[in-house]
Assembly symmetry: C2
Homo-oligomer: 213 residues x 2
DNA sequence: GTCTATAGCTGGATAGAC
DNA sequence: GTCTATCCAGCTATAGAC
């Protein structure tokens, strides 16, 4: 890498143009779908022409890769933010809620990050790295809160992913499944550590809404 | 509809050509991915030319629709097959295993049927109908086996779908998540009907493999 | 770095002869 | 119903002037 000092601001400027394009790309795919991204649209919305995009990215997949990288970083930052709960159970609920919030707030991002649906696209190791780290971080948290067995960690991820997936697929914008997170976490805790108590759940349909969503 | 009797075999012949094309289409997408289907490939593999496809289908989406319809029918047939268990718990396990088997045996079919990932494609009501019926059938079974609350049914679907989804996404061809079905079902039963007993699970990692998979 | 112009390709779909 | 030939639209990507 050239680390000449004088032209540093130039690099910064280039970086910001780079980032702007990715901004626009994200706003585009959130409207048209992941596969609906075209360089023409992207350029037009960014106020440049299609060939100019190639001044910043070598290919369309390089754009997807940068989008993936940003999403992975956002994911890492989101999940690593400190949790201000004392109770382990509340902590697990908070983790699940945060994950769910992250996914449902941008289904397209969820699709790019966690579902492999784009043909001919594989994220580069560099873009992938932050996501790996974040997932490992979550797993470590699980261990801290008593879920040490791999089997249980797998059930945990399946459970949370299942809630998110059903929410996005079958009730987009709603909360039919996300509102079941607390109850599901309690179910999981009761199963994985029967000694520790999980909170009781009454059988009435609705809980006070808006708590820690 | 013309219901002239004499040319009935002609209709049958046409139907079989129709079906053959869908056969080929399925074998193609299972290799190239759902979005990778092209009329040229399809025609070549079917031993005809691209325009001839239009003798049977009005558009590419009509092909997707027919594929969806077949998948939905297969799903309905699979799930409606009689369950030969006495124990309700075993029955739930059997349902989950059957669903899981259906999905993991053809991830592409799962993708078309349950995830909305194809842009500009919506299944027609006719193609959709069998899937709806099958899902209602499953839900009725759940009620029969004691899962009557809507909340619990939603948790059930999330749990099973989550296991399948993780299996397909993160361990295709393996059984890292599908082997957790029994344990997950027991967790669910314990939660949804604490009075009825679910089978015990020891904490050792592996269970005897190959049982009712 | 940004443009205009365009290459080069692939895809869905149609026309019309047989 | 099946073909050949072809249209037309859309895309990614490159060439080359400025």
């Amino acid at each position: 890498m050239k680390t000449k000092e004088p032209a540093d601001w130039r690099e910064a400027r280039r970086r910001s143009a780079h980032d702007t394009i990715i901004d626009v790309a994200w706003s585009l795919v959130s409207e048209e779908g992941l596969a609906g991204l075209t360089l023409r649209d992207l350029a037009r919305r960014a106020g440049i022409t299609a060939p100019t995009v190639y001044a910043y990215f070598n290919s369309k997949n390089a754009i997807y890769d940068a989008m993936f990288g940003r999403a992975a970083t956002e994911f890492a930052l989101t999940m690593a933010q400190p949790y201000e709960c004392d109770d382990p159970r509340d902590q697990l609920v908070a983790i699940a809620n945060r994950f769910s919030q992250f996914c449902t707030s941008s289904p397209t991002r969820y699709q790019l990050l966690f579902q492999r649906t784009l043909p001919d696209f594989e994220p580069s190791p560099e873009s992938f790295a932050p996501a790996i780290l974040a997932l490992e971080g979550v797993r470590e948290l699980l261990v801290v809160y008593g879920i040490s067995e791999a089997r249980h960690a797998d059930i945990w991820t399946a459970l949370i992913v299942g809630l998110v997936d059903q929410q996005i697929s079958n009730d987009p914008g709603g909360d039919r499944w996300t509102r079941l997170i607390e109850e599901s976490v309690d179910m999981f805790i009761t199963h994985s550590q029967p000694n520790r108590g999980s909170r009781k759940h009454d059988s009435r349909p609705a809980q006070t809404k808006g708590i820690s969503t």
